[in-house]
Symmetry: C2
């Protein structure tokens, strides 16, 4: 009488943050791959690139020049997806089919680029802890400043999405270490889903979803990748991307600006350790999209009380530096499907060195 084996038998896991499911088919990892090959990372970039619009002193698309910055540097995105000012969108009235089916909202806001370092050829795992701590400080400053501008100057800022696309496989077109921050007058879909889930969980159990989740993962340990005084890194039970992880604060912190000095340093440190592990996994500069989920700017009531600081890392690589997972046909039309369990991914990540980057060993 065979028993159900999660590493061999297909199952679906539920994502309580987004109210959706993922299909886990661990035996599928065995299939051969004849498809697209990703470009392996090159390590021969110079520390300063005269053609890079993010390097210190260089001129950008807008015509303005970057200062000779020493650690982080924030500037407005020259190709912003949302802008501070635009004409008012007059609502279309009446109960027509069009109004039933084509809902639309104007979105103002602001987009920023955050250079992590003046050095063109660095990546987060290669940065000094002090410099990475400066990046967290820059996120804090940005969050506080935008919240203040919304409060005091009536700027249309409601949610600040801080993120990084790393590597060409994740649509990044400049390897200079940088992230982005898009600030909108609307709560983005993914955040709205999480806030709804946090509220639902609290209504049902009286506790915080992510607080309970941290407690559970610290007991279970099978999906735990890293831990320090203030944060854990886990491959979430419902992970979609092969080596997807989540950094979650151990105590309830609504947003990045509320991190105290120790928490700030511990966040920088666990990001560094996680990304060193990532690079060590396939001995390549590991691509990913990552970002912070936190309370809306100037949140009050439920939105403030239910928010719990966490970061998602979505890395595409599956088997090697050149073979990625494609979330395509079945995934787009049906539901996401993965080829290894969250526990298998966590076991592999746990086993890797988090202190010494593979390039330092060469």
């Amino acid at each position: 009488n065979e028993t159900f084996d999660f590493t061999d038998h297909s199952h679906r896991r539920y994502n309580p943050l987004t109210d959706s499911w993922v299909l886990v088919s661990p035996h599928r990892a065995k299939r051969p791959w004849l498809g697209q090959q990703e470009a392996p990372s090159k390590n021969d970039a110079p520390e300063y690139d005269p053609k890079c619009y993010l390097c210190p002193n260089n001129t950008r698309a807008s015509g303005s020049s970057n200062p000779a910055y020493a650690n982080t540097y924030i500037f407005p995105n020259d190709f912003a997806a949302v802008k501070l000012e635009q004409p008012k969108l007059v609502e279309s009235k009446g109960d027509t089919l069009k109004n039933r089916l084509c809902k639309v909202e104007s979105v103002r806001g602001n987009c920023f680029v955050i250079c992590f370092s003046p050095k063109h050829n660095l990546t987060i795992p290669q940065m000094k802890l002090e410099d990475l701590t400066q990046v967290v400080s820059a996120w804090q400053t940005l969050y506080s400043n935008l919240a203040k501008e919304a409060r005091e100057e009536g700027k249309p800022y409601k949610y600040l999405q801080i993120f990084e696309n790393k590597g060409t496989a994740m649509g990044c077109s400049n390897l200079h270490p940088h992230g982005q921050a898009w600030c909108l007058e609307a709560i983005p879909t993914e955040i709205a889903k999480e806030l709804k889930s946090f509220k639902k969980y609290k209504d049902q159990y009286g506790t915080d979803l992510l607080g309970d989740y941290v407690k559970m993962e610290l007991e279970e340990k099978s999906r735990l990748v890293l831990e320090n005084e203030d944060f854990i890194v886990v491959v979430p039970y419902w992970a979609v991307w092969p080596f997807e992880t989540m950094i979650v604060s151990k105590s309830k912190i609504p947003s990045v600006d509320k991190l105290n000095d120790r928490e700030k340093k511990n966040l920088a440190s666990i990001i560094k350790e996680l990304t060193i592990k990532y690079d060590n996994l396939f001995e390549t500069s590991f691509p990913y999209s990552m970002g912070i989920h936190q309370a809306p700017l100037n949140a009050e009531g439920e939105a403030l009380n239910d928010s719990w600081f966490h970061m998602h890392f979505y890395p595409p690589l599956l088997r090697s530096a050149t073979v990625r997972k494609f979330l395509v046909g079945f995934e787009l039309l049906g539901e996401p499907q993965r080829d290894l369990t969250a526990e298998q991914a966590a076991t592999r990540l746990r086993a890797l060195d988090s202190k010494v980057h593979y390039l330092e060993k060469l």
Copy 2:
């Protein structure tokens, strides 16, 4: 006094099928692209490839050989994501944190590969209408057979997801023209969302969401790409992918098996015309993931009455044969963002030849 211009000002559009939003930033199409380049399509593949596991007479991974098939050919996927039999998953009982946060279900089912043609170097837009009509017939047979096996033999089949991944950019590893069909004992997330939306709309307005949508698009015309007696092709108002389209039946047809002969031919014909337009857009073999959304197998009651046959096409290319859209950082963490409006995409697709493929003109 400037007025709001949808082709210039940022806005969010609501997707009533999935209850989510998309951020539209049309002015962003102007930004330069220095990132990843896709491989342009090669047209030098042979009609028969001795190494292709989908060509007639060749041996597959499982060891079995393909017959000398003449039009379509369906066989079980050698690396199936779900299987017909596996041990029972014993439900974990008790109100523990783990049970609150880690919901899981066993999923059985079956996966099939559908070769569209014996000719290795064809693609859908290049196939004869008669042969493409055979593909629709193959989908019909598969749907009916699986429904019957579920009914009469108790097979664990509830939903049949028919799809095609075309091109290496969409994770396809074999250019031999083929699609897939994954049959699960669960309703996949995307289908569950649509069924919920159909019900909600009907409860609210007493009519069918997609029926009203077809009516509205036929009046508006700005997003209409193709139309025949039985189907329309539109760039949906809430499209995410740059040239995303939807084929929708004009009358209510719950599933592919219910298409009569005329509808079957008209579906094949509109798929051919749409994919010819796609290839003509950037004069390349246009990659996409596409698939059918329809009623669950043996559906009854609401699930049957609310279902409305439609197909989604999700193509990644944005500006040229080699520059795609990346749905990454902001899209994964916040919400999907697009760089041209649905109407702009429809205008471009509408203007293209739907009868003569660019390769025939060379």
